[in-house]
C-alpha cells in the first residue's frame, strides 16, 4: 500500500491536493495511506521550499501549487499492485 504524505500548513491549495489525490486513487482502485503533515519542522525534513508538497513512500514527488490531475494519475500506474 502506498504511503502518501501531503505537506502543508493548511491553506486551500493543500486541502485541494489532498482531495485530488484521494479522488484519483479511488478512481483507480488503489489503496493508499494518506497523511496530512502540518507541523512545519516535519515538513522541513523533506527539504521542500514550497507547499503543498507530496511525498510518496518517502520520496518527494511534487512541491509548490496543486499538482495537475495528469501528474497525480502518473503516480498510480494502472498496473501497480498494492
Amino acid at each position: 500500500m502506498k504511503e502518501i504524505k501531503v505537506l502543508g500548513t493548511g491553506c486551500s491549495n493543500c486541502k485541494a491536493t489532498v482531495r485530488l489525490i484521494e479522488e484519483v486513487a479511488r478512481g483507480k482502485g488503489v489503496e493508499i495511506a494518506l497523511e496530512k503533515v502540518e507541523d512545519i519542522r516535519e515538513i522541513m525534513t523533506y527539504n521542500v521550499m514550497a507547499t503543498p508538497g507530496v511525498v510518496i513512500d518517502g520520496q518527494v514527488v511534487h512541491s509548490g501549487g496543486v499538482p495537475t490531475r495528469q501528474k497525480v494519475e502518473g503516480w498510480f500506474p494502472a498496473t501497480a499492485s498494492a
Binding site: 502543508g8 521542500v48 507547499t51
Partner: protein
C-alpha cells in the same frame, strides 16, 4: 497511453502558433470594448447621460477590460514563473553581498511564484542555503506586494502611471526595508530550531520544461488566480461604477486629502491589521481615489494592507521570535509611510 483525445490539445502541439493567435485575438477583443459597452448601454432603456447610464457604461466597459487584462498578464506571468522556481531563486541569491542581493531578491520576488503558506518553507530554505537574512526579507516583502494581479488591476483601472509608481515604490520599500533589517544583524532572533537546521548546498536544477508545458503552466495560473479573484474585481468595479455615477467630487478629500498630515500614518496604521490579496483591496482603493483622496495616502494604504498580512505573520511566528517580527513590521510600515509622504509632497 492516454487514448481519450483532449478536445483542446492543439496549443500543445503547436505552441508558437497558439501564442501568436492568442495575442492577436486578445488585442482584437480589447479594441472592441469601448464601442461595445456604449452599444450595450444604448440598447437598454436608460438615459446615457443619467447617473445610472454613466455608472452602467463604466461597469460594462471596465469589467471585461480588467478581466481581459488580468487573464493576459496572469497567463504571461504563469509562463514566466515556470522559469523561476524557489530553488533557482535561492541559488541565485545564496552568499551574495547585500545591497545588490537585496535588489535582486526584490526583483525575483515579482517573478517567483509565491503563496503565503509557502512563506515559511521558503524562508527556512533560504536561510539553510546561506541567503543573508535581510535579502530573504527583501524577497518576502516584494513577493506578495509587487504581484502581477495588483499591477494589472492598478493599470486597468487607474492607468499606467499609477501602476508603475506602485511597482517602483514597492520594489523600493522591499529593497530598503530588507537592507535595513540586514544591517540590524538580527540573526539571533530566528527561532533556535531554524538556526540549527543543516546547511544546504543551493543548486539550481535545470528546469527542462518545453514551451507547451510552459503554456500549460500559464493556463493553470489563469484558472487558479482569475478563478479565485474575479468576484473581488466585479465588486471593485461595481463600487467604482457607483461612485463614478453618483458620489459628488471631493467627498473623500476632506479626510484623506493632502492637507491632513495625519492621513498617511492613519492609512498605514489602518492597513496593518487588515489583510487582503491584491484584488480585494482594489474596491477600497477605487472608492478612495476616484473622489479626491491623495494618491500617496491611498498607495500607502494599499501597500500596508497587502505587505503586512496578519495570517502570514502568524505563520512566520513559527520561525521568527517576536522581536524580529516586530522589527519587520515596523521597518516596512516606516518605509511605506515615507513613500506615502514623498508621494503626496511631490505630486
Amino acid at each position: 497511453m492516454n487514448v481519450t483525445a483532449k478536445t483542446f490539445s492543439w496549443p500543445e502541439t503547436h505552441p508558437k502558433v497558439f501564442l501568436l493567435i492568442a495575442a492577436l485575438a486578445w488585442v482584437a477583443l480589447y479594441r472592441t470594448l469601448a464601442p461595445a459597452s456604449e452599444a450595450l448601454v444604448a440598447a437598454l432603456p436608460v438615459d446615457r447621460a443619467s447617473h445610472l447610464g454613466s455608472a452602467l457604461q463604466f461597469f460594462f466597459y471596465d469589467t471585461p477590460k480588467v478581466l481581459l487584462l488580468l487573464t493576459g498578464v496572469v497567463f504571461v506571468m504563469g509562463m514566466v514563473n515556470s522559469y523561476f522556481t524557489p530553488e533557482r531563486t535561492r541559488a541565485l541569491l545564496a552568499g551574495r553581498t547585500e545591497g545588490v542581493a537585496n535588489a535582486m531578491a526584490a526583483g525575483l520576488g515579482i517573478v517567483t511564484p509565491f503563496c503565503s503558506c509557502s512563506a515559511v518553507p521558503l524562508f527556512i530554505g533560504f536561510v539553510q542555503a546561506g541567503v543573508p537574512l535581510g535579502v530573504t526579507f527583501s524577497f518576502l516583502i516584494s513577493a506578495p506586494m509587487v504581484n502581477e494581479v495588483a499591477l494589472v488591476l492598478l493599470f486597468g483601472m487607474f492607468g499606467w502611471k499609477i501602476a508603475s509608481l506602485y511597482l517602483g515604490l514597492g520594489l523600493f520599500v522591499a529593497i530598503v526595508a530588507g537592507w535595513v533589517i540586514g544591517r540590524l544583524k538580527m540573526e539571533a532572533y530566528l527561532e533556535d530550531w531554524v538556526r540549527n537546521m543543516p546547511h544546504v548546498q543551493a543548486s539550481a536544477g535545470l528546469s527542462a520544461l518545453t514551451l507547451s508545458e510552459r503554456i500549460e503552466a500559464g493556463f493553470a495560473s489563469v484558472r487558479e488566480i482569475v478563478g479565485k479573484v474575479w468576484p473581488y474585481i466585479l465588486a471593485g468595479i461595481a463600487i467604482g461604477a457607483a461612485i463614478h455615477g453618483w458620489v459628488p467630487e471631493n467627498f473623500m478629500a476632506s479626510f484623506m486629502g493632502k492637507a491632513a498630515w495625519w492621513s498617511v500614518p492613519l492609512a498605514v496604521l489602518i492597513g496593518v491589521p487588515m489583510y487582503s490579496n491584491a484584488a480585494g483591496v482594489i474596491p477600497i482603493v477605487q472608492a478612495l481615489l476616484a473622489k479626491g483622496a491623495a494618491l500617496g495616502t491611498v498607495l500607502a494604504f494599499m501597500m500596508s494592507v497587502i505587505a503586512l498580512s496578519l495570517p502570514e505573520l502568524v505563520i512566520l511566528r513559527k520561525v521568527l521570535k517576536w522581536r524580529l517580527i516586530a522589527t519587520f513590521v515596523a521597518v516596512v510600515a516606516i518605509g511605506i509611510l515615507i513613500v506615502g509622504y514623498l508621494f503626496n509632497a511631490v505630486l
